[in-house]
Symmetry: C2
Subunit: 459 residues, 2 copies
């Protein structure tokens, strides 16, 4: 695990829950190394989401390919006293040797549909649970939120501004990737640009203005320090007064070959300010200068501003995006569905699961819009397009990773298949997902194996 200065380093194999290690010791001592099948899926959609968007697969595969305990980690475990020496020796040689099947990143998905399946000897498949969920949950969470913003913004420039209130370093970096994947144009987070090639955007902060004795001087100094063209932040003291200053400054800057590309609003009633500022800029001969808005922006506000016809050309979306503020977690899980060839399911109240290795088939109407999914078992052809494909075998990727641009293009095509009822910010008609008879039969079989009645076949 080498430090790479232009990326977030992997956190190592101790980023797991303690019980994964105590359970592994139990499996090890009983020789329970048979093939296990786990699937990652999300339960019921929250009221403020019409679909989920799959993301995080590339990091999940990186994690599985790199899985191993370092000497320092093994030493630390040895010092804890609850793990026996033969088990720690076993951990030293543990690698991920299994298979992975998954939905492609950027695929919309719905409740109970798995987006990733791990098939591996039980201890391997168990150990990876915590970090796999941590990776898939967060990126799918942000991609799902970002897709909502993209759909309502209808082509306006969208930039991730969320680093400072994202939950730590990795969240800040990966949120920018997830947002770009979902259709954002870029991010302000430099490391996301350096690690993933996501285009970088940035304007200026209030502190730059405040550090100067006058706003005019601050605008002029900032413009001269950037080659070519500049976006100026105009809400530090009085938005419309500042817009007039921008107009007055433009000819002087033009004489130095500097173009005012646009202005940024960051507070107040963004729609009202945008209309006034647009008029000031137009009247001042800056009809080409764009208006970019930020400050507590989310998809609900953008939808309203777009509907009102506010003359805003782009948005910086920060906290609401990077924390998925209206739904900061998805009710997701990674559950054992089969062990040693037998189907398994849990029956806990409100959390029962569908057993077996599953496939999701999606049907499309004549316009190419998706119109219904079927959740069934692998090998049971329910008709339509299967969404879950093999991506890893014997612990190695089957294909080189797609580029992020490829994933983004595929995501755009996928979002274009969503019916109009799912594309807005409000709750749409629920998307139909049916469970195939083959899967219902297997659920009854799984219950019979552990001595439960079949009356509760549906989760």
């Amino acid at each position: 695990m080498a430090t790479h200065p232009l990326r977030i380093d992997p956190p190592g194999t101790l980023l797991t829950d303690l019980y994964q290690l105590t359970m592994l010791q139990g499996y090890f001592e009983r020789g329970m190394f048979d093939m296990a099948v786990f699937e990652f899926f999300a339960r019921k959609l929250p009221p403020c989401r019409n679909f989920y968007l799959a993301a995080g697969l590339e990091m999940a595969l990186d994690f599985l390919e790199g899985l191993r305990f370092s000497q320092a980690e093994l030493e630390w475990l040895r010092g804890q006293g609850q793990f026996k020496a033969p088990f720690i020796d076993y951990l030293a040689g543990l690698r991920f040797t299994g298979e992975v099947h998954a939905m492609a990143e950027g695929t919309p998905f719905f409740a109970d549909e798995p987006i990733l399946r791990v098939t591996a000897p039980l201890p391997e498949a168990q150990l990876v649970e915590s970090r796999l969920i941590n990776l898939l949950h967060f990126q799918s969470l942000i991609a799902s939120k970002a897709a909502r913003v993209v759909l309502v913004a209808a082509g306006r420039l969208l930039v991730d501004f969320g680093l400072r209130r994202s939950h730590g370093a990795e969240a800040g970096v990966y949120a920018g990737r997830a947002a770009y994947l979902a259709g954002f144009d870029g991010t302000a987070t430099v490391l996301t640009g350096a690690q993933f090639g996501v285009p970088l955007y940035g304007t200026m902060a209030h502190s730059f203005i405040q550090a100067h004795d006058s706003e005019d001087k601050a605008f002029e100094h900032f413009a001269h320090s950037l080659p070519g063209s500049v976006v100026l932040l105009i809400d530090t003291y009085d938005t419309e007064v500042a817009a007039h200053k921008v107009v007055a400054l433009a000819p002087r800057l033009a004489a130095s070959g500097i173009r005012i590309r646009g202005v940024r609003l960051d507070s107040g009633d963004l729609g009202a300010h945008a209309r006034k500022v647009r008029k000031i800029l137009d009247d001042g001969g800056l009809g080409d200068a764009t208006i970019f808005a930020s400050g507590n922006v989310d998809e609900y506000l953008i939808a309203r501003l777009v509907e009102e016809g506010a003359p805003i050309d782009g948005y910086g979306v920060g906290t609401h995006l990077d924390t998925s503020a209206d739904a900061p977690a998805l009710d997701c899980a990674y559950k054992l569905q089969e062990y040693a060839g037998k189907p398994r399911r849990k029956h806990s109240e409100g959390k029962a699961t569908w057993p077996g290795r599953k496939q999701v088939f999606r049907r499309f109407d004549a316009q190419g819009l998706c119109c219904g999914d079927t959740l069934t078992l692998e090998g049971d052809n329910a008709g339509g397009t299967p969404l879950i494909m093999p991506v890893m075998r014997q612990g190695k990727r089957l294909q080189p990773s797609p580029t992020l641009e490829e994933v983004r293009a595929r995501t755009r095509a996928q979002l274009a298949t969503l019916p109009v009822t799912l594309r807005g910010v409000l709750a749409g008609t629920a998307y139909p997902v049916q469970v195939a008879p083959a899967l219902e039969a297997l659920a009854r079989e799984a219950d019979r194996l552990v001595g439960l009645g079949s009356q509760e076949a549906a989760p």
Copy 2:
């Protein structure tokens, strides 16, 4: 920046917003290296918080002490085309050489009260903004949430279970630290234990049960794999049936020297199940076995269960804690308050700030409970206990870091000073924070300096 296998590695200096770098280039070209004062504070408390709890200072100081651009980072910046060679040479030598004043970790604080002040040459103080907010915001967010849980749980065992749905690796690790600091007993996240010495807790997952053909066998195998004592998860199929299995198993385990320390419930009506299970355990001679509950637990549910007298001895708190689900972000900022000896403030609508270097004085009543704060300027003695102290000078800590146990003990003492109206889960009487005349006068002076009227002195 060396990889340390038992900690989350720092993400490097590119974890920042692009505009910090473009602004720095502007400062550099104009020779704006005078002393700047920035303060980090939070705006209005959300309706579901009665106080904030300061956390993250230790990581913030680590970040400042280690600040530098690596050769690889400088090369990358050079390749971007928008930064000029003399500026990149300047970045190569940039270190943090300033002062920091701060509230101690574990101090309750309120709207507009700074918890950290940076005094440094403008480019240094500016560059660190994004990561400082990222660190202080997240840990204060989680500590503030955790403190609510601690206050209502009234001494019951509390364990952080949130890694899987925390927002990435760093969030998972630091959430466990913030929760422990606030009074939790431990975490399930192994790396949090390895990095910070936070006590580790763990039981078993449903998959362990499901991987066995019978629940009884799974319990027995798990118990034998752990030396001494064990907590068994009993909700995989039928909670009360499983409780009877535990009772039946206990004598056989006792014969092998294994004690059943407790059981865990993870679904359904936790209070109702706990009452039934308590009776089954008591009737079966397991009066000493504890009941631990998890599954969508937060402070609201714990408060209700405690009030109902549910026989639950401890809680695993996951998603709600690690995402601070009811308030997943705080409205916080890091703002320029003084530059080159002159007070500064922004005037943006709804976001105006108080200028100058500030101090917070806290008053206590005869019972030792805090009864009011005064926000004023450094050097203006408003009476009471000053909360902001020097912690770093010339880029180095003034004192060795306290241990996490020391911080936790201090936090407990601090939480004990909160008046009863702030200690519950519902909104209490707002805590009085008054602004001193000296600060109001400086705000008017700052406005006058940039040519604004004084009619809007209050933010």
